[in-house]
């Protein structure tokens, strides 16, 4: 922890406040809908006992679905954002309220129910004047349970782009920043405790001044919801929305720098990488940050905005090889160079798409590509390896590693083993330096920004493809005894992506044009 928790909190207080309000809103909105539906359903069940069992069964089953899975189910049905989030929270709130309404009324002392009927009350009068007032503490306990559950589950809705305090938690996990995790976890825990405390207090008091308390609680609920909703409506006046993953939002070389350079003022929604493409495709957002070789850009008919001020550094892929290996087996270099400069962006995107949507294995894709280049592609099983090729944990890196293996095994006499899926750049690079692996596919931009120290960066021309490549090549050889072989051709850099139809309608081709457009709004 570089900074103290308190200074972090005071720096971030505006956003913590905003996400707390968002969290509260999600919780209360779901709760209000759940109360509005559960109360009549619970009451109806006491009048149609035959329906009670199946209904309780259904809401019980819903309750047993793990929250992540339930949120997952929501995406194909309702997409992402607040609607599916509130729906999921609503579903979780059903059981405690329905069950407590039902049992609260059913378990009214039969003598008292008989007295009500014996006095000449109609069924409805008995319900309103006797059974409901007596069931109120039980019903309230159910509402309390539902509220506390909702505050907890609402931390997960950040995963489907609905915001809330979970935003800090997941961002903190992604960036390995404990303060940030706590910035989400502490307010969420406090909120749950406060609800528990105050609703518990009301629950105790409700036996005495029930009318007053019920009316007061309703008024407060409606006021809170109304105020927040009103403010949200104001916010959403800017209808152009962006969806970025949390790491991109917070890195200096991500959205923060982009914003400064282009004077870009975006309404940003935080979302998981896996959801971004669905989100833009389904018009939940209008702009996402992608990678230029992502297969889904073509598949979803999206366009990449031109980075006309050259903000994003080039990320040219090239094999990274230990010097020792080249000294021992110089033929490896020739084998790998057979595809140097041979893969352009659309080609790489197409290959990635084959893995993501056509569900082919990286090995199958590598073979297919090399065959199309009239190269030999005999595939050797693992065993008796002379060298080991590693990869990071994403599709494109898998495909490239497979290509390297096939090339080396077909154009040298060496045998290759694969060690795929290292969890991060640092891990795979350390493995290479320690000699656990001998080769892996790396990107020049990553080499520059992640693997080399910060000091010298400004002195070189960061946005010039040749300059960056030359710089990392020189530095890696001197510092680490590691060689960059020739780049493969494509540049898998960060990009800003819009729907093609949308971009064409607004006449936006570059990020500057987007910034201008937003400024005019």
């Amino acid at each position: 922890m570089k900074k103290g928790l308190f200074s972090f909190f005071s720096e971030q207080k505006a956003e913590i406040f905003e996400q707390t309000i968002e969290h509260l809103w999600l919780t209360l909105m779901a709760l209000t809908i759940a109360i509005a539906i559960s109360l009549p359903v619970g009451i109806m069940m006491t009048r149609r006992i035959k329906l009670a069992k199946p209904i309780l069964g259904i809401v019980n089953v819903i309750q047993t679905i793990p929250s992540l899975a339930l949120l997952g189910f929501m995406i194909p049905l309702l997409g992402i954002g607040t609607v599916p989030a509130i729906t999921a929270l609503f579903l979780y709130a059903l059981l405690p309220i329905i069950r407590n309404t039902y049992t609260g009324i059913i378990e009214t002392d039969p003598g008292i129910k008989e007295a009500a009927r014996g006095m000449g009350m109609t069924d409805f009068q008995s319900l309103i004047q006797v059974e409901l007032p007596l069931a109120l503490p039980t019903i309230f306990a159910g509402i309390k349970t539902a509220t506390v559950i909702n505050v907890g589950v609402a931390t997960l809705t950040a995963l489907i782009g609905a915001g809330g305090l979970g935003v800090f938690i997941f961002r903190g996990i992604a960036l390995n920043n404990v303060n940030m995790i706590l910035a989400g976890a502490i307010p969420a825990a406090l909120m749950a405790l406060m609800f528990d405390f105050f609703l518990g207090l009301i629950q105790q008091q409700i036996k005495k001044r029930r009318k007053l308390i019920v009316i007061a609680a309703l008024v407060i609920l409606v006021l809170m919801l109304g105020t927040i909703t009103w403010n949200k409506l104001d916010f959403s006046g800017n209808s152009f929305k962006a969806g970025f993953p949390s790491e991109f939002i917070h890195r200096e070389d991500g959205y923060q720098g982009l914003k400064k350079l282009y004077h870009l003022d975006l309404d940003v929604m935080e979302m998981d990488i896996g959801l971004m493409y669905d989100a833009i495709h389904n018009k939940k957002v209008d702009l996402v940050s992608g990678f230029s070789t992502d297969g889904r850009i073509g598949a979803f008919d999206l366009v990449v905005l031109d980075d006309d001020k050259h903000y994003f550094p080039p990320y040219h892929a090239a094999p990274l090889v230990r010097k020792q290996l080249i000294d021992t087996y110089p033929e490896v270099m020739d084998a790998l160079n057979k595809i140097a400069g041979q893969i352009n962006n659309p080609q790489m995107a197409a290959l990635n798409y084959m893995a993501d949507d056509a569900q082919l294995s990286p090995g199958e894709i590598a073979v297919a590509f090399l065959e199309s280049m009239d190269l030999k592609t005999k595939y050797h099983p693992d065993g008796n390896a002379d060298l080991i090729i590693g990869s990071k944990n994403f599709t494109e890196n898998f495909i490239l590693a497979e290509m390297f293996k096939i090339l080396i095994e077909n154009y040298t006499t060496l045998n290759v083993d694969l060690k795929m899926g290292f969890g991060g750049t640092k891990l795979v690079f350390d493995a290479l330096r320690n000699g656990d692996i001998d080769i892996y596919p790396e990107y020049t931009g990553t080499g520059l920004l992640v693997l080399l120290p910060e000091e010298d960066r400004d002195t070189i021309i960061m946005y010039d493809r040749e300059a960056v490549y030359e710089y990392v090549r020189k530095e890696f050889r001197e510092r680490y005894d590691i060689h960059w072989l020739s780049p493969l051709g494509f540049n898998n850099t960060h990009t800003m992506v819009m729907r093609r139809e949308h971009a064409e309608r607004l006449g936006i081709n570059t990020i500057s044009e987007l910034a201008d457009y937003l400024q005019k709004q």
Binding site: E114, A115, R117, M119, G120, M121
Partner: protein
Amino acid sequence: MIDVLNLTKEYNGRPVVDRISFHVPEGKTFVLLGTSGSGKTTTLKMLNGLIQPTSGKILINDKDISNVNQESLRKNIGYVIQSIGLFPHMTVKENISVVPKLLKWHPDAIKERVRFLLKLLNLETVDTESYPAQLSGGQQQRVGLARALAADPPIVLMDEPFGALDPITRTDIRNEFKKLEEIINKTIVLVTHDVTEAWELGDTICLMDDGKIMQKGSPKELTWKAENAFVSDFLRPHQWQLEIMTVAVKDVAPFSDKEISLDPDTSLFNAIHTLESEGKKTLSLHLHQAFLDYKTSFIKREL
């Protein structure tokens, strides 16, 4: 006022009330007496429509109750339920006001009525804003009675109204109850398993067993003319008491050689009770003797 004809209630084909018939004249108290499970409560609840009979008829003022609106039927019949059944979330005042409110009485009239009933039932010391849980058992029972009487119904059904009380409180409340003007003119059907209570309060007593009527008649008739072995067996443990309850001072006066300076209409039971509590042992013994002589001559006459 109330006519019950061949009334039967079956549960799962088993009759728990079995073809019973009786008549309750206006202003009289009719007691359903019997052991637990004999069908008393079931019979009572059929009278205000809380239980639908399997067969048979109930007429109130010559109208079949199955043809009238059940809620308005019940609003016009006072009901004291076995478990008291006060509404725990309502104050004493609100509990008593329930039926007048349902009948849409004017708030002032309700207020006045509540005050009247509280006074009548010796509940003046009770805070009308207190809740049932804050009251003693006896007070709760009285509030239950006040609630049943609130709308001044011509008919009142009472299911073991003094059941939940200790014996002493029970005798006290019963004695007060007997004297209530408010009660005297009403037609009352009262359920009890307590023989003394039945004899004290009933104009007509209907002894039930297993859903059937074993005998119905005045206390005197049941005491002195048991119609079957069940009745005499049932009453035997109480026989002595019931006899002195059904004989008045004036009945035994001819068998006494001393002047008896007691109300001639009071029952022997009450007379002896009064004398004992005043410490007049000899006089009490003397009355006993006179009663025995009366009984001997009575039996001789019967023979």
